[in-house]
């Protein structure tokens, strides 16, 4: 027996506690929503024409965003795969990781800088004599932004799939004289077809629950998604009934999407095969060579210009003045404390689940109860996918309002919600690391009789330090950049960095917003990078966590 009975008891009790805490938190939010509907039949809320319009727009923009991201990612992924020796290729792949690690709010600022009314693109168009500006607001802007964030994700997953193809295929194809069209039809497309359903489901899920981008780029009831409509009902119209109806609708929607997603094949690990030399004679053909370079240049401009804009606009802002303001330090301190707390909370909730699941996984005879306990703990870590942050926030907002001052409990709630948001990722990092750690050390520790604190200090901590720090730093980056949970609760007395950026924008202090965005972006990227270096974890932060389970 590798685990002493007392150790097993502790592990399972810890898992049960953590599971209970998560369930209670989510249940209170849901109950509070349900209680608030009293008197109003749910059916009448859902048949409200406004709500139906919002639902239709949510589905429309998510479908179009998914299609566009996929259709545009295919040629880019193909070009990257076909040019294995392209100079700067690795930097393009790294550039593609940036939108995934960057707070959505900041990416949106960059996009506005390039595609907005006074942005680079429209300025060039007006030079060229075209007066019809590209609109960053409304449906076109939302689609543009969703493509900006999801094309790189799709691209990396597709590239990974293409790179898993045996190297001989390309040589055989070349030897047989297959033209690029044939190579696509007989090799590339069959490979892509196998990953596209999973990737599409993942992107659809992200776009259907996208909050910050729609908040910033959506305009009026014509371009509002369920999540933003919930926020507007509570914050502006103060119509809790509608917020509740929308929240329940959102849960139903995510449940359906998650259900469909679970039927699709997993989108696979994005771990790119490094080191293996792949020859692509088909990429050396003149037409392909030129087309791929042109395409990659366009992709780099599309992804890179908004990022470059953030840097340039940020540096143009009066950073000294910003850093000298008391509000900046207050927001920084609030964000810092909240990010650290939510990262620690996320870890404190995740680790017992991981440990309990591991303990159960070692048991030979799994009874039905054990099995459902095991599954429940696995599902708990991803519960936030089913109950989006804004929905949890709404439920707790309504509950807290009945009890007393929302402002007092707001930071605690935001920390808790951010912690839940980070859990899918934290568990995804910790679970395999913990399993490997146990496999490596369990027998030896058991035979030497090392246990308890000594084991933690001498064996577990040194071995698990890296994955733990990775999980913590990603969770912190996620919380630092989050606007969703804060949006409902933000006020003059409760200011985080993203909230400060957002309210600077709202009061037309665009320069301040740019400067703050640069600072926030740099902090988040540094956290993400420091978590990735040497951890052996593919540099896919929060978004990748969704493809788990």
């Amino acid at each position: 027996m590798l685990i002493a009975p007392s150790e097993r008891r502790y592990a399972l009790a810890g898992g049960a506690l953590s599971l209970a805490a998560i369930i209670v938190f989510v249940t209170v939010a849901t109950l509070s929503l349900l209680i608030s509907t009293d008197g109003m039949p749910v059916g009448s809320i859902v048949s409200d024409p406004y709500i139906l319009r919002v639902l239709r727009f949510t589905l429309l923009q998510a479908t179009l965003s998914t299609l566009l991201s996929l259709v545009l990612a295919i040629p880019v992924a193909r070009a990257l795969a076909r040019q294995p020796r392209f100079i700067g290729r690795i930097w393009i792949i790294r550039l593609m990781a940036v939108p995934m690690g960057l707070p959505v709010l900041i990416g949106a600022l960059g996009l506005i800088g390039i595609w907005g009314r006074q942005g680079v693109v429209n300025t060039m168009l007006s030079w060229a004599g075209i007066d019809q500006p590209v609109s960053i607001y409304g449906l076109s802007g939302i689609l543009l932004a969703h493509v900006f964030f999801n094309l790189p994700l799709a691209c990396r997953l597709m590239l990974a799939a293409l790179e898993r193809v045996p190297g001989e295929y390309w040589l055989v194809a070349s030897g047989l004289g297959m033209r690029p069209v044939s190579v696509f039809r007989f090799i590339e497309w069959p490979v892509l077809r196998s990953v596209i359903p999973g990737v599409a489901g993942l992107i659809f899920m992200l776009c259907a629950t996208s909050f910050t981008l729609v908040l910033m780029l959506g305009g009026g009831p014509a371009a509002t998604t369920i999540e933003v409509a919930i926020y507007q009902s509570l914050r502006f119209d103060f119509d809790p009934g509608r917020a509740v109806g929308l929240s329940l609708l959102q849960i139903a929607l995510t449940a359906v999407v998650l259900g469909i997603l679970s039927l699709l094949p997993a989108s696979g690990d994005a771990g790119l095969t490094a080191g293996r030399t792949i020859r692509r004679p088909d990429g050396a053909l003149l037409g392909a060579w030129v087309a791929d370079r042109a395409l990659l240049t366009l992709a780099v401009l599309f992804l890179g210009l908004p990022l470059l804009f953030i840097v340039i606009a940020g540096l143009r802002a009066d950073l000294m003045k910003l850093v000298g303001e008391a509000i900046f330090w207050r927001a920084l301190a609030t964000s810092g404390v909240m990010a650290l707390s939510s990262a620690l909370l996320s870890f404190a909730l995740s680790m017992p689940l991981v440990r309990a699941r591991h303990t159960l996984s070692l048991e030979r005879k799994a009874r039905y109860g054990t099995r459902s306990f095991f599954a429940a703990m696995g599902a708990a870590s991803s519960l936030v996918l089913l109950f989006p942050p804004i929905v949890l926030a709404t439920g707790w907002f309504l509950a807290a309002r009945d009890v007393g001052d929302v402002n007092v409990v707001a930071p605690v709630l935001v920390v808790a919600i951010n912690a839940l948001m980070a859990m899918p990722f934290v568990v995804r990092v910790l679970e395999p690391a913990y399993a490997i750690h146990q496999r490596r050390t369990q027998r030896l520790s058991a035979s030497l009789g090392i246990s308890g604190l000594a084991k933690l200090r001498l064996i577990s901590w040194p071995d698990l330090r890296k994955p733990v720090l990775t999980a913590l730093s990603f969770a912190m980056a996620l919380s630092l950049g989050d606007l969703g949970a804060v949006a409902l609760f933000g006020s003059d007395s409760f200011v985080t960095l993203p909230w400060l950026v957002y309210s600077s924008l709202g009061s037309y202090r665009t320069n301040d917003a740019d400067g703050l965005a640069l600072i926030l972006g740099v902090i988040c990227l540094l956290l993400t990078i420091s978590g990735t270096i040497g951890s052996g974890v593919a540099d896919e932060p929060k978004r990748e966590a969704l493809s788990h389970d």
Partner: protein
């Protein structure tokens, strides 16, 4: 005897390694190419197949320099150790792609595929998927594809290395039968000196990026007074 292919001062630099190949491959023979791993066997084959383009020198076929031709234009067919077949396409399609790279096939082409499958002992396998075949059967399909391509030279890169020993002999026998039927030139790269001795008429020993020895197999087997080759063949110095 005329030469099928001649390499004249073919040079190539890949990173830290430089290669210089000079040799003549006799027409209609089975030529074994061997050497220690990293010596340059694969580069030799890649140059012949056209996956690497030489920095200098000529690769002559029929008096013409084919050194700058695209792989598909060269008079060669290829069989690798593994992954010769596209796993998601059935046997018929895999062979058909050898006749027309966009799979535009006529009735005569379909008959050619059926007869090629019969020749490699896989009649009726048209609709099978590669995953349902054994390793040996997959290599037979690759041979069938080489048959329908009707190229004068067949290049094989460790074609039997993934198979077990008895199967290896069967496959080598099949290769020789095909060779006798078609009269093609076979260039087979193998790290297995015994295999080369069993099936090759001539052999080439590659050492440090150069053709160190090229000789008929009887003389080759004696080590040709080349210390590296003698070491490779484990011929006792005594």
């Amino acid at each position: 005897m005329t030469d099928a292919i001649e390499m004249r001062g073919v040079t190539l630099r890949l990173g830290q390694n430089s290669f210089v190949f000079d040799c003549a491959l006799p027409e209609g023979a089975v030529i074994g190419v061997t050497g220690a791993s990293g010596a340059g066997k694969s580069t030799f084959l890649n140059l012949l197949a056209g996956f690497d383009t030489a920095d200098g020198g000529q690769i002559l076929f029929d008096g013409k320099d084919i050194g700058h031709q695209h792989p598909a234009e060269r008079p060669v067919s290829l069989v690798f150790q593994d992954n010769n077949l596209f796993a998601h396409l059935n046997v018929f399609t895999n062979i058909g792609l050898g006749i027309h790279p966009a799979l535009k096939l006529g009735d005569a082409d379909r008959r050619a595929i059926t007869s090629a499958l019969a020749k490699v002992g896989l009649s009726g396998f048209e609709k099978r998927m590669p995953a349902t075949l054994s390793g040996g059967e997959r290599q037979r399909v690759a041979f069938a594809r080489a048959l329908v391509r009707q190229r004068p030279i067949l290049l094989l890169d460790e074609p039997f290395a993934a198979l077990d020993p008895s199967l290896r002999r069967d496959m080598a026998a099949l290769l020789l039968v095909m060779h006798r039927d078609s009269g093609n030139t076979v260039v087979i790269v193998s790290h297995d000196a015994d295999e080369i001795r069993r099936i090759a008429d001539d052999a080439i020993f590659i050492d440090q990026g150069r053709v160190a020895v090229a000789a008929p197999i009887e003389r080759f087997s004696t080590g040709e007074n080349n210390s590296a080759l003698r070491q490779f063949l484990r011929i006792d110095e005594s």
